[in-house]
């Protein structure tokens, strides 16, 4: 089964949301958000869409089969 990488923790930090707040918003337990962020669990399409809708971003900005580049790398690339 392919690994699905995600940037939930990054978006959550950027919006200043706690795990519990996000979990309540999408109808799961806070631990499930933790398992998602850690990559221990791949979400269903329904949950992935709910999380993307919560952050108001397209789903491919949050989830990918390829690892996301780090924020530091993205900043370096942007400033170059």
């Amino acid at each position: 089964m392919p690994v699905i990488h995600n940037r939930i923790a990054l978006f959550r930090a950027e919006r200043g949301m706690s795990r519990r707040e996000l979990a309540d918003a999408v109808g799961v337990n806070p631990q499930t958000i933790g398992y998602l962020e850690r990559g221990d669990y791949s979400p269903s399409l329904e949950l992935a869409l709910k999380i993307a809708a919560q952050f108001d971003v397209p789903i491919e900005l949050l989830f990918s089969f390829q690892p996301f580049e780090s924020v530091a790398t993205a900043l370096r690339r942007a400033s170059a």
């Binding site: 799961v28 337990n29 850690r38 949950l47």
Partner: protein, 168 residues
């Protein structure tokens, strides 16, 4: 209400909450990974079954210990990481997936143990020319052993499948 009664009822409330039953009813019970505790009834039941198969004079004691293991195993799912069907707790897709995998592991184990157990008892009874009573004690113990596995294996599987998530 007198001061004495107030204190008495407050203490009774505290005692009731310590049992964990009110939290269970509200769906707020604390669940934890039980990585080692399920091994106690599992080892006890397995050892008792084998003891009964090897020693004819200990068949009754083996049966008694298997039922004791079953009694211990009944308590495990209440505190284990698996949320049962119909619980008032919030059961999300992760909980359902975890429960599905753990129950599958449990059913597979029970199926294999049932096949091996039945053929083992039958085979040993034929080879050792067991008396009718001993065969009956062994056949009576096997279902309790299988029920113990059915309770212990899913809890054990789920407890080892997850790692705790720290609060943020």
């Amino acid at each position: 209400m007198s001061k004495f009664n107030e204190r008495l009822f407050a203490r009774l409330d505290t005692a009731a909450e310590r049992t964990g039953v009110p939290a269970m009813a509200c769906g707020k019970q604390s669940r934890r990974r039980l990585r080692w505790l399920p091994l106690v009834p599992l080892a006890l039941a397995s050892g008792s079954l084998l003891t009964g198969l090897i020693r004819a004079d200990l068949a009754n004691m083996g049966f008694a210990l298997i039922t004791l293991s079953y009694t211990l195993a009944v308590v495990l799912p209440i505190f284990g990481p698996l949320k049962p069907w119909g619980t008032p707790e919030r059961v999300d897709e992760f909980d359902r997936a975890l429960r599905g995998r753990a129950m599958l592991a449990g059913y597979a184990t029970v199926s294999v143990a049932a096949l091996i157990g039945m053929w083992l008892i039958l085979g040993l009874a034929v080879i050792g020319d067991w008396p009718r009573e001993r065969i009956l004690w062994q056949l009576a113990g096997l279902p309790f052993y299988l029920l113990t596995l059915h309770l212990v294996v899913p809890t054990l599987h789920a407890s080892w499948a997850i790692r705790p998530v720290e609060d943020d």
